[in-house]
């Protein structure tokens, strides 16, 4: 098989609400997806799928990544593909593109682990029989994350959807579906919580607030700072000399930093009693402290499930690596401070460290026992070592070498992974990574189980 042209790669990632779609990739660097298409189609009274809105029933084939209406989803895939072909060939006006970039299109579809075998085979069938695509591969969204982060061998992916959240561990590049966990809530829980604190607001306004830059989750530090400011103005300029002395950094450097900090503090969101954002109707809306609330419940539910999922893994070396590579994806995670707050909660809930009460008594005892001479030293008694994991919890490090993606943010990380895999899988002479027409003709839709990336 001749190698494919990179400008004909077709990548599609159906996430919770939208499908991210891209045709063709550029040589140099990877760009965020071209299209973001809402996954909704319409159904006529006769049960046929259509794009006509009038008089038809709205169907959302995907619910939190799961396929709830397979036929609707198949229709959607076909629609996306054919519309692009039509647009690219200018509705048949320039047929020469079919000899060039549209001649041999390899397709990569990012899948969700909940898709059943039947659904996967049915999609394969559609791709080969209706779309007439000759080379096709599936890639699980979780594995896509692992590839996007420079092939993370061990990690755990937290995928926050609208109504639920999936937690899936990956070990040695294998997705452990059987150990995965589900949180029964997703981003919509934030809306519900906000609706409590802002009862007079409409759901749309709340959604706009959630998506606006003024909505954020404050860290403990930021909360303290903003409280001080709210209560007593004088504190603003106070400078922590003790911190300066104890840190071993250059004094001048610290002072400069402090100055800079002060300048930016004047504008930071967390410092202000109220802030404004523009809603979908173009109206300026002012909102108070409620803009920092609403994520707590979701975060603590996620943290509990992560703990329960990871405790089932008892390969300690790998478990350690997994705890140090927490990947968070989904639109909700774009909220500034969300990831950090989640990490904070994970640390609080799961980090293995000595309970404070025990630590104080132990240190007290130790101090009392020590002779006067040693007293000074005794203050720094050793920590207690535990057999358990985790002793370190970290978020996975996002790659710096995709400038366009860096600008875009990483909540759509699986798409980046899909791009990388498409480049490697389709750019290779080895055909064992994807289903070829030849394989499909031999075995039919079940050929999908013979290939893996």
């Amino acid at each position: 098989m001749a190698p494919f042209r990179q400008d004909s790669y077709f990548i599609i990632y159906p996430s919770s609400q939208h499908a991210l779609v891209q045709f063709g990739m550029r040589e140099e660097t990877l760009y965020p997806p071209q299209y973001k298409i809402p996954i909704s189609v319409y159904k006529t009274i006769n049960g046929k799928y259509t794009t006509e809105k009038e008089g038809n029933e709205l169907v959302k084939p995907l619910l939190d990544g799961q396929i709830v209406d397979l036929d609707g989803f198949l229709f959607f895939l076909e629609l996306v593909y054919k519309s692009y072909l039509a647009q690219r060939s200018r509705f048949g006006a320039s047929p020469e593109v079919f000899d060039m970039e549209l001649s041999n299109i390899p397709m990569l579809l990012v899948s969700h682990p909940s898709w059943t075998h039947f659904q996967v085979e049915r999609i394969t069938q559609l791709v080969f029989e209706q779309l007439q695509i000759n080379n096709f591969m599936f890639l699980s969204s979780n594995l896509a994350c692992s590839y996007a982060l420079g092939s993370l061998q061990n990690c755990v992916v937290i995928d926050v959807h609208a109504d639920s959240t999936d937690v899936t561990p990956i070990m040695d590049y294998i997705q452990l579906t059987h150990l995965s966990g589900k949180v029964k809530n997703g981003g919509d829980l934030i809306n519900q919580e906000l609706a409590h604190s802002l009862p007079q607001w409409s759901p749309d306004q709340i959604e706009d607030l959630k998506r606006s830059p003024v909505y954020e989750v404050l860290s403990e530090d930021a909360k303290n700072v903003s409280k001080l400011n709210f209560q007593n103005e004088e504190d603003d300029g106070a400078f922590d000399v003790a911190a300066l002395v104890t840190s071993d950094r250059d004094t001048r450097e610290l002072l400069e930093e402090n100055e800079k900090g002060k300048e930016s503090q004047q504008t930071t969101n967390s410092e202000q009693e109220t802030n404004t954002f523009v809603d979908r109707d173009g109206q300026q809306v002012t909102v108070g402290k409620q803009r920092f609330k609403g994520c707590e419940k979701l975060i603590s539910e996620i943290s509990a499930v992560v703990g329960r999922v990871l405790v089932k893994i008892d390969d300690f070396h790998k478990l350690r690596a997994i705890w140090e590579n927490i990947v968070v994806i989904g639109g909700t995670t774009e909220i500034s401070g969300f990831k950090e707050a989640l990490l904070q909660k994970l640390l609080e809930d799961h980090l293995i460290e000595e309970p404070i009460a025990e630590k104080t008594t132990r240190e007290q005892d130790y101090y009392n026992q020590a002779t006067n001479k040693k007293k000074a030293k005794a203050l720094f008694s050793n920590n207690v070592d535990y057999v358990q994991i985790p002793t370190v919890i970290r978020l996975a490090k996002y790659p710096d070498y995709f400038p366009e993606w860096k600008k875009h943010g990483y909540s759509e990380l699986p798409f980046l992974g899909a791009q990388i895999v498409a480049k490697q899988g389709f750019g290779h002479t080895n055909e064992s990574f994807y289903i070829t027409r030849e394989r499909y003709d031999k075995k039919g839709p079940s050929s999908v189980w013979d290939v893996t990336f």
Partner: protein, 396 residues
């Protein structure tokens, strides 16, 4: 494409046979929710309200709640795997020593009530040994409710020589709970006063006890009371290990104390004087080897004569250690050590899957291997028609 289900006494593993990893893990116990539906999802049970937890499998590894098993299979295949029972071949792993009546009940359930087109029952130890490419093996399976030692010669299970004991994972759970009771509940009230002992036992065994087993337990290389203090020192058994109990309390035990908890598996009398040491793990293993030797020499009096020694050699060089509870550090070494005292004249070689994850799924993987045999007639498939034929034959 067929579905493989492994019903362990603790956990059930299920998935399709054409992929390497199972799709789901659920509990082999269940609770009833408010709508009187059965709940099998482990997390859901732990989260759920405190209600009694019922088991599906007996401590012998045989289902005794057939109705719940039917619901569980239905839930696995239709709700979780999105397949249709009437269209999908089903393979289940079964204990090696089930009676013909139980076998009929299994077929009745699968082919009769659930309308599965074709069905296969795979004997666990046989599947494990064949999937590892051995047709002769001594399979030591240490699970939750039971330990089974099964000799397999040339692809045939010597059921007369197989032995089962109850000293396994659940027994350890109990030992851990007993050992730590005082430390943990020092000043607090006993938790077992809760309304549902089965529920709290279920939760404990799947949360902190599971962690304790994985991180703290270890097995001493030989009988603990026979070691002198110098050896104990040299092995570092006096070094303490710290365990954080539910983020609240530090439990500090020396390695020796950790070994003491597991010693009950090898010498049950250590745990309680009611138990006989003959049921200890190494003892039953050597008993099985001897019995297997004796059994085959009696049978094969006619054609190909195999001596007891040959059987011993064959089994002792093919020891397979599996089951989730076999993951405790040092356990494999202890079995080999003890056996080498019993059989000083033989060479021993054992195999325990080094990948933790794989060992926990070994029985399921065995089932998958059996389901994927290249030829249809290699597997032991039964169809609905076969079942009806046997029934009519019985009636005549």
């Amino acid at each position: 494409m067929s579905i493989v289900i492994h019903n362990g006494t603790h956990t059930t593993v299920a998935g399709f046979s054409q992929v390497d990893m199972p799709q789901l893990l659920c509990s082999s116990s269940y609770t009833k929710n408010a709508n009187d539906e059965l709940v099998f999802d482990t997390d859901e049970i732990i989260d759920g309200p405190e209600t009694p937890v019922f088991t599906i499998m007996s401590p012998e590894g045989v289902p005794y709640d057939w109705e719940a098993l039917e619901k569980q299979w239905q839930w696995i295949v239709e709700t979780k795997l999105g397949a249709k029972l009437e269209e999908t071949p089903l393979v289940v792993t079964v204990a090696p020593d089930i009676t013909p009546e139980i076998k009929t009940q299994y077929s009745e359930l699968a082919l009769g009530r659930l309308k599965v087109p074709v069905f296969q029952m795979v004997s666990e130890p046989l599947a494990v040994s064949l999937s590892l490419g051995r047709n002769t093996a001594l399979v030591i399976d240490i699970g939750a409710a039971k330990t089974t030692v099964t000799p397999i010669i040339e692809g045939t299970i010597l059921s007369s020589a197989a032995i089962r004991s109850r000293f396994a994972g659940d027994f350890l759970d109990f030992q851990i709970h007993e050992t730590l009771k005082k430390t943990i509940h020092g000043e607090e009230k006993e938790e077992s006063s809760s309304s549902n002992p089965s529920f709290s036992a279920f939760c404990n065994s799947r949360t902190w006890i599971q962690e304790f087993k994985a991180y703290m337990l270890q097995v001493s290389p030989s009988r603990l009371q026979e070691m002198d203090s110098a050896t104990v020192d040299m092995l570092g058994l006096n070094i303490p290990k710290n365990f954080l109990y539910q983020k609240r309390k530090t439990v500090s035990l020396t390695q020796k104390e950790c070994c003491l908890i597991t010693e009950g598996i090898f010498q049950p009398s250590v745990a309680s004087s009611q138990f006989a040491n003959e049921e200890g793990l190494s003892d039953i293993v050597s008993k099985v080897v001897k019995k297997a030797g004796a059994a085959t020499t009696q049978n094969s009096s006619t054609s190909n004569v195999t001596s007891a020694e040959q059987i011993h050699t064959a089994l002792l060089t093919n020891i397979i250690i599996t089951g989730s509870s076999s993951l405790i550090a040092g356990l494999e070494q202890r079995i080999v050590n003890d056996l080498s005292y019993q059989f000083p004249q033989y060479k021993l070689s054992s195999f325990a899957n080094p990948l933790v994850l794989d060992r926990k799924l070994q029985s399921w993987h065995g089932g998958v291997t059996m389901a994927n045999l290249p030829s249809w007639d290699l597997g032991d498939w039964v169809s609905r028609k076969d079942l009806e034929t046997t029934k009519t034959e019985e009636n005549y």
